[in-house]
Amino acid sequence: MTQSRLHVPHPPARPGEKPDFSYLDIPPAGHESRPDTLAPAHEIERLGTGMVRVLDEQGRAVGSWNPHLEPEELQVALRHMLLTRHFDERMQRMQRQGRISFYMKSTGEEAVAVAQGMALQPGDMLFPSYRTQGLFIVRGKSLVDLMSQCLSNTRDMCRGRQMPIMYHWAEGNIFSISGNLATQFPQAVGWAMAAAIKGEDRIAASWMGEGSSAEADFHHALTFAAVYQAPVILNVVNNQWAISSFQGFAGGERRTFAQRGPGYGIPGVRVDGNDFLAVYAVTRWAAERARASGGPTLIEHVTYRAAAHSTSDDPSRYRPKEEWQAWPLGDPVKRLKEHLIGIGEWSEERHAALERELEAHVTACWKEAVTYGTLTDGPTLDPMSMFEDVFHDMPAHLKRQREELRGLTAAQHAAAAAKVSGGEG
């Protein structure tokens, strides 16, 4: 007699245990060869099991995926990644001090958003997830604006309606971040379909974590993208952890996430997500393919969520504290820095100066942002504005509710004023 048995995935290490990343297959840098941009999906399935890597252990750029960027571009990349990191650190501290209600850092994953933001054209439409703040930084959104959103102040692009980090930027072609997972993935496909319908050369890109790939929206996105050969780049950022669930709970024990692409007839490319050059090169390849009517690409970025999921999370309860130090793909900032030093285009001194400059910049931006108000101190947004934008034209029932709130607020102010003057008398 046989009996089935439930398999429950186990991460390689829990708190108190030794970090173990032996489950990761990591080929040497330069091992994968870059195929023709329009290679048929079935001929390049190997890209889903290998790992595109350009930077080797000595910080050299090797192999056919090397994008051969100018040193100036690499220095800009390093600046964007470092700025993202400093911004994250400051906002985390401000949350701890009660100045903002919530925050999510992207520490350790900065290369993904920064490299992809730089590899795409300004007209390309980005459908970000909540850990791709680097996209906004690459496209030039000011930190004051990002901070103002986190503060829900008078300069907040969301007018106080969204939790911190749920940015958007219409002029910069960056879509609204949703607190609900995976929803933007098939929306990006629809945007790309529209670009193809209109005959434009713009493409779309979207991001989600590996955990979110369990949502049905992931399947919707890949099916629609494959059916219509939409010009879209779909990115799964495999940072190993979805709050407390390791990537095995999203199906990562059996296949790579990139390997799901070929199942839909889409190329799947697995890339070293902490290697700026590799992420840049793979994104350029997928973008050229999409623009040349080659259809969608699924990219899996192998990286590590060095920070907590959010300021509400405590990862020491579910993973070893030392995991980040043991992560075999290293720190993306450090790797690009070492590469630049290796080619004689950077130095420890310049790096230290850049860090000081960025820290001062972040401080100046924060000082300016709070002048537009904080959650507790003025100037504040007008609460009556909460009734706007529910619809294009405000219906009568919302106008009535707005007047009710206005009357109530006036009565409360009058009562408070009476209390104050009573106290004085």
């Binding site: 106080g160 607190g179 997972l181 709050i243 999203a250 579910y318 609460p383 509710q401 409360q412």
Partner: protein
């Protein structure tokens, strides 16, 4: 009796049922090893093993669908949806499948699934961590809808939900997980140990689904409410200095029409309070029921105090939240009407 907050009471209900009934399984995102983002399942995987307390992939539709399959195959699944705001990917499985399985198979199949989900605002959660979607589910035929307002009820009602032969959506108002909340965010937090309903038996007990509770007897006006708003209504009644009868509805489906209408028939006045939006909210059902059953005893039009008909705005949480001032105003208007 033990002192428990609402998280501990829910944990205790799950513990009791896992211990008593080998068919009970508990699962959801982060509920296993981690014990849930609100700690409601803390320690249960260690105690009952990972075949009965499971982490799941992030897929709410998958969680509910798997619960249905398990329920059909003889288990008693208790699924957690991490925030009520995340329940919508499971909507088709709940509405088209879970709610109708018994009906469409003439009773040959059913899935006694309990879906637990934290709801409500007041935690600076913005529009994706603050919603109260109970009215969306009360409109669906075939699922029971429950929302407790204190630890004692939470445990007793959750045990009843798990033991129920029908599917139940069990809403947990997260603002009152750690203590009752009177609607004033500037006051220091009050723990459940200060409240009589923070006394919770450690063993098994059940509070029947479908029974409302009079939490404050009174003769001048009836306040119908549930969840967090029970405590806000109590504070408002103290401020309004009226002899109000406050009823905690507790179960929206099935609704305890007798208790509600006996009270309104006695007082002749009715104020309905919920945190959810107003238009087509559950208050509309309460109002219609009271009007149908108590029309000749009503001395004044029924008033509703609810969240505004907008998404929950992050910055204006306390302008949005239907606090004591709005409830007092509604009570006064109902008292003054002739």
């Amino acid at each position: 009796m033990a002192q428990m907050n609402m998280v501990q009471a829910i944990n205790s209900a799950l513990d009791v049922m896992l211990g008593r009934d080998p068919r009970v399984v508990v699962f959801g995102e982060d509920v296993g090893y981690f014990g849930g983002v609100f700690r409601c399942t803390d320690g249960l995987q260690r105690k009952y093993g990972e075949h009965r307390v499971l982490d799941t992939p992030i897929a709410e539709g998958g969680i509910v669908a798997a619960a249905i399959g398990m329920g059909v195959n003889g288990l008693r699944p208790v699924a957690e949806i991490q925030f009520a705001d995340y329940i919508y990917p499971a909507f088709d499985q709940i509405v088209s499948e879970l709610a109708r399985l018994r009906y469409r198979t003439a009773g040959d199949y059913c899935a006694p699934v309990t879906i637990r989900t934290p709801c409500g605002g007041g935690i600076r959660g913005g529009q994706t961590h603050s919603q109260s979607p109970e009215g969306v589910f009360t409109h669906v035929c075939g699922i029971k809808v429950v929302m407790p307002s204190n630890p004692y009820d939470a445990k007793g009602l959750l045990i009843s939900s798990i033991e129920d032969e029908d599917p139940v959506v069990f809403f947990e108002p997260k603002r009152i997980y750690n203590g009752p909340f009177d609607g004033d965010p500037h006051k220091p937090a009050v723990p459940w140990s200060t409240h009589p309903k923070g006394e919770v038996p450690e063993g098994h007990y059940a509070i029947p689904i479908g029974k409302a509770e009079v939490v404050r007897p009174g003769k001048d006006v009836t306040v119908l409410t549930y969840g967090t708003m029970v405590h806000v209504a109590e504070a408002a009644v103290r401020l309004a200095e009226v002899d109000a009868e406050i009823i905690d509805v507790r179960t929206m489906v099935p609704l305890d029409v007798d208790t509600l209408c006996t009270s309104v028939s006695k007082t002749g006045r009715c104020v309905i309070v919920h945190e959810a939006t107003r238009f087509s909210g559950f208050g509309a059902e309460l109002s219609a029921t009271v009007q149908e059953e108590c029309f000749w005893q009503l001395e004044a039009p029924i008033a509703r105090v609810t969240g505004w008909d907008t998404p929950y705005p992050h910055a204006f949480e306390w302008d949005y939240f239907p606090g004591p001032a709005r409830i007092v105003a509604a009570i006064r208007s109902v008292m003054e009407a002739r």
